[in-house]
């Protein structure tokens, strides 16, 4: 017997009798002989919980956990503090073992937290409408680009080179398939070259995409970029943002951004070797019926009680099929719950405090690292919680030396920007202490 299969041999007999068959094999007789697998799968035999646990924990131990290290690595995945209550609440199996809330009567829990999530994302970004989530920050950029192109009925997407490399790569993959044209705008001293943007924008432009804080941690002039974009009829200005930064930075809604996307991993979701994370999308009201993915709306039931349902579903694949705004179906439901609980736990003051502490500690680390002159700032621009420095030292050597001291060093920018040789991008969150930052500085000095 298997623990997750309750049917006994006796049950099998009775059930087969009810069906009118003699053996289980007969149930598979309709699969053509030539495609039946007439051998065991070449996989290990079933195992007990103890055996599985022991093997997989041995794999987990082969990794270097960030809880044993001091991490200064970011580049799109951040080591922010995760309050204890998140794991406890999302572990309630009424949440995690439920399906997409199609049966509203018995899914009010999921529907209501998505409604709360949409509200929080709108309030954080200053936008009118948000969806229930997208896969991650990178694919959210792509969904925004596709939405903008469909609305404008145009095919050119302009994206800044300071947008994180993965997002640009994913955009190119999809753009190739859909015959959209992607034009990159170069950077100048670590920020988008807005003069070049002004030169490149044209009547075919459907969207301009800028990230702020950008991949180098630097705050971009979204307001100016929005102004430039809006000179073109029907062009959408898309900003990809770090939601934590909005604890202190101006909301995209105040800067005339049309579509806001981003990666919300930093809000209560572990780094987990790259996923699952949480993409989000919020927009001005006029985009509401063109958004990809699910949206929850408030309504009343037959007795007049306030209740929630999936709404505006005519946009989606299960209704509109080939004319859907996106093919997305499953999204990041449970991680949207994590972010929701994170946002309400930190609340009005907390997000601000996390953002402010991260920024202040990052600036302290920056000052300490460049103090001796061994490391030079790569760019001289205002940043949030990440900054890049360069030196005569090879980035790999730095990482190895730091690792020996149980420190996870920064990201090697040369991987994506070959001209930025030896440049390393450090991230500092509210979790780092002065002592840890001083240790980083000390080890770096000693290399």
């Amino acid at each position: 017997m298997y623990p997750y299969i309750p049917i006994t041999t006796d049950d099998e007999k009775q059930m087969l009798e009810s069906i009118g068959l003699n053996s289980i094999e007969e149930l598979f007789a309709d699969i053509p002989k030539e495609v039946q697998l007439n051998r065991e799968l070449n996989l290990p035999k079933s195992k007990s919980e103890l055996e599985v646990f022991s093997y997989l924990s041995s794999l987990a131990k082969k990794n270097c956990s960030q809880s044993d290290m001091i991490s200064f690595l970011g580049a799109g995945a951040y080591d922010h503090y995760i309050p204890s209550i998140i794991d406890h609440l999302v572990s309630r199996s009424e949440f995690y073992t439920s399906y997409t809330p199609y049966q509203a009567e018995i899914s009010q829990g999921t529907l209501q937290y998505i409604f709360e999530f949409q509200t929080l994302i709108c309030n954080l970004t200053g936008m009118d409408v948000a969806n229930a989530s997208l896969y991650d920050g990178g694919t959210a950029v792509v969904e925004a680009a596709i939405m903008a192109a469909n609305i404008a009925r145009k095919d050119e997407i302009i994206i800044s080179k300071t947008v994180k490399p993965d997002a640009r790569k994913i955009l190119k993959t999809y753009a190739h398939a859909q015959s959209l044209k992607v034009v990159e705008v170069d950077m100048k001293d670590g920020v988008t070259d807005l003069e070049e943007l002004e030169n490149k924008i044209n009547d075919n432009t459907a969207a301009v995409i800028i990230q702020s804080p950008n991949f180098f941690g630097i705050i971009e002039d979204l307001k100016k970029a929005a102004e430039i974009t809006h000179k073109i009829k029907k062009a959408s200005f898309v900003a990809s943002v770090d939601p934590i930064s909005l604890g202190i930075l101006k909301k995209p809604g105040e800067l005339d951004v049309d579509i806001v996307v981003g990666e919300a991993q930093g809000m209560g979701i572990p780094v987990s070797f790259g996923g699952p994370y949480l993409g989000f999308m919020a927009a001005k009201k006029s985009y509401m019926r063109k958004l990809p993915g699910r949206i929850v709306g408030e309504t009343t039931d037959v007795d007049g009680k306030r209740s929630y349902v999936l709404t505006l579903t005519a946009r989606e694949q299960h209704i509109r099929r080939e004319k859907a705004t996106s093919n997305i179906c499953s999204n990041q439901g449970l991680n949207a719950l994590r972010a929701t609980i994170y946002m309400v736990t930190l609340g009005k003051e907390g997000i601000k405090e996390v953002a402010a502490q991260s920024a202040k500690k990052a600036h302290y680390a920056y000052e300490q690292i460049i103090k001796s002159g061994k490391f030079k700032p790569l760019f001289d621009k205002p940043f949030f919680k990440e900054f890049a420095v360069t030196s005569g030292l090879d980035a790999k050597t730095i990482t190895t030396e730091l690792e020996n001291e149980m420190i996870t060093g920064g990201y090697h920018l040369e991987i994506d920007y070959p001209q930025l040789k030896n440049a390393v991008l450090y991230a500092v969150t509210e979790k780092r202490t002065k002592e840890e930052i001083d240790k980083l500085t000390r080890v770096l000095e000693g290399i």
Partner: protein
């Protein structure tokens, strides 16, 4: 299903009313009935130009969505803004409530439309 005599019709259940060089376009009684409670009508923008058979509008109910195709190439000169606030007007009176008004580019395309008799025949076949 109601079919009005003095209108032209299409296979996609749109009606067309010609007034000089202009055409009003809406959806038929049959179309609104099949869609059910209409919750939203997407309107084109004035001056948008569409080719023949291009979708210029979409009509959505809770469980379905249907594009509205232009049977005659043309330019949008007016849209029925009442539908923004009250999309159910298409349910209550689909022939009174047009979706958009077009300047017709090519009057010869009018000849390709169905007459009310032909449309009635089509409905009889679909039932």
């Amino acid at each position: 299903m109601k079919v009005l005599k003095d209108l032209y019709y299409t296979n996609d259940h749109e009606w067309v009313k010609i007034e000089g060089g202009e055409a009003y376009i809406g959806i038929t009684d049959f179309a609104q009935h099949n869609l059910g409670d209409i919750v939203y009508v997407e309107l084109p923008e004035i001056d948008d130009e569409f080719d023949k058979e291009e979708a210029f509008s979409a009509v959505e109910s809770v469980k379905a969505a249907s594009d509205v195709y232009l049977p005659l190439s043309g330019k949008v000169i007016a849209v029925n803004e009442a539908l923004i606030d009250d999309p159910a007007l298409l349910n209550s009176d689909p022939y009174e409530n047009w979706i958009a008004k077009f300047e017709v580019n090519d009057r010869s395309q009018i000849d390709e439309l169905m007459t009310s008799e032909e449309y009635e025949k089509l409905l009889a076949e679909e039932e």
